[in-house]
Symmetry: C2
């Protein structure tokens, strides 16, 4: 193999490959990157048996070939270069990364030992990368990180006519987003949230989803990542039905968010704040024997009842962040029923609802 590539293009592809492969594998072969040079340029591929990735990058290929190199050192070397073009060539048992003044030689691994990189399953449809990333930023972060309950570490991705519905819950809150979907085949899959959170950092342009009974693939630009689906049937999003809303509050999301962050400094170890609903305002309150007490009043449009729930402050922060820059509507239900956060003027394009379960109020409020 012998090729010349634009340094930043190849460095970006290698960096993306390293980020998409979690690299938990102790097997150096599975921690390796397969480079395949042909007339079409160079393809970077890898698989740790759970995930598989494939990225392409244009290159002037002088001699085609296929080699396996340690992924991280390859990516770090390319990232450190400050010259516009880089030469990549096999030299004996080394892959040399060459610039006019420098030579970096990585040990070659045995490419024949690599299990290969599966191709993506058939196309299910596609979404706008921008909307998909925006939805994932909220939804994937709502999934649980507790791998003892794998069901809650996933995001349910379901095609519903011309809409794609993304939903995740950790049992205490649930986020549901819906966005326009160009359908090619039915889709209802439970995808590891950790991969989607990583995809949300990288995807751009149009994102296409590929699925069969066992695997899901996400493709954008020159990148494809595939992974095994999670097993199990997800809670239905229909839990979001608001059967008993008796209080509705509308206010500026950022004002409430800033107040939550301040008042939360005084919360007890549970981190719970009370949201007292008044006539034209709400009052956040908390108190703790050690920390002291805090309260802040915020102007709000209140309709119907005065049900005043309490919430964990960090869940309030997560529920409010997606509505930053605009107003947010809280649909409050009495008792231990959830409150739903949504936009008072839902956009045609993307619809997001965030449900948070209430807590017992702080002891001394």
């Amino acid at each position: 193999m012998d090729l010349t590539a634009t340094t930043t293009d190849l460095a970006n592809a290698a960096a993306e490959a390293v980020r998409l492969l979690p690299g938990r594998s102790l097997d150096p072969v599975l921690a390796g990157l397969l480079l395949t040079a042909s007339d079409d340029g160079v393809v970077l591929a890898g698989s740790d048996r759970e995930r598989a990735i494939r990225l392409s990058c244009s290159a002037a290929v002088h001699t085609p070939g296929r080699v396996l190199v340690p992924a991280k050192p390859f990516a770090e070397t390319l990232r450190a270069l400050d010259v516009p073009m880089v030469r990549i060539a096999v030299e004996g048992a080394r892959l040399a990364v060459r610039t006019p003044n420098a030579r970096f030689a990585l040990p070659l691994l045995d490419a024949d030992l690599h299990p290969g990189v599966p191709t993506a399953p058939p196309l299910a449809g596609s979404v706008s990368g921008e909307l998909f990333v925006s939805a994932l930023t909220t939804v994937a972060a709502t999934a649980s990180r507790d791998e003892a309950l794998p069901l809650f570490t996933g995001v349910r991705v379901r095609a519903d006519g011309s809409r794609l519905v993304l939903a995740a819950t950790d049992r205490y809150r649930m986020a549901v987003a819906s966005l326009p979907w160009t359908s090619a085949a039915p889709l209802d899959a439970l995808i590891p949230a950790a991969l989607l959170a990583e995809v949300a950092k990288q995807a751009r342009g149009q994102v296409s989803l590929h699925a069969d009974a066992n695997r899901i693939g996400l493709a954008w630009d020159n990148s494809v990542v595939t992974t095994a689906l999670l097993d199990g049937s997800f809670l239905s999003e229909s839990k979001l039905v608001l059967s008993a809303v008796d209080t509705t509050v509308e206010l500026d999301a950022d004002t409430l968010l800033a107040a939550v962050r301040r008042v939360a400094l005084y919360a007890d170890s549970r981190g719970v704040l009370k949201l007292e609903v008044g006539d034209n305002e709400i009052r956040l309150r908390t108190a703790d024997q050690q920390a002291g007490e805090a309260e802040e009043t915020i102007k709000a449009d209140v309709s119907d009842g005065r049900t005043s729930p309490s919430f964990q402050s960090r869940f309030l922060v997560d529920a409010l962040k997606p509505f930053s820059g605009g107003r947010v509507r809280l649909a409050i239900q009495p008792g231990m029923r959830a409150t739903v956060f949504s936009s008072p003027n839902p956009e045609e394009v993307m619809d997001l609802r965030y449900m948070v379960a209430p807590m017992r109020p702080p002891a001394t409020t």
Copy 2:
């Protein structure tokens, strides 16, 4: 106590107080901040028995008084506020932090239990804050963090006529800086590097140093911090005498720094690079059985011999960073004698020399 202050001024003073007091104390009284309001404004003071701090902030004082409050919650509350003015008032057993829409109430601690905050020792002299901070950024970082050898965790600060000389070593390298000094009294003290590193982040304007046999004080703007001196006699900076320089290399510091960072990716577990001195260039080289090998050539002005030492790459990085943006001169001595990094055109104002001990070369170069 009852006062009104500009929120950012008081928040900055409280944040600076929290950063200057390490807060390792488990005693809530020592982790507290003494607030004293008088016609002159408000003074924030604290002491954890090792360090003592005193910061002043202008305020409109409605009722003078003196209270002790938990330092961190007080600082965090002020930092979180987004209104221009804040009211601080004692209300029963609480200190209330009030804004038009909010009230945060911190528990008061018993100020009579506080050991008090010692005042600064007599003035020794003063330096430009800008130069002092610039010198400390390099010198304080060179001290050891190993508290088992307290001598090496200090910076020797010594007045020498109209110059202030700062020196620190961890035994493998030594940094010595000298800057203009307005002397008021003799000074030769070993100051904990950790405090100086913190001071380097905060000091501005003119910095005055205050010292007696046991304590040192640093004062700038409206802040004073004092601490106990370290015991022991520091290595003499005269070790920097260059008795056997046989090779001198001059080159661009940033070019060498970038090359060191690249080539170091291929170093063995010791992180050692060889610096081969050629005729009009130097070549950085390293090799490791696992990582592969790397070399990079950099143009340089070489005079006298061709002595080619090896160094730990992280020490090279630390030695080169202070010369970033210009050229650096390496005065190389044969054998296991140190190499001295300095500016080829030493400024009148500040002089910095960085000495690094050589290592055995990488095994396979």
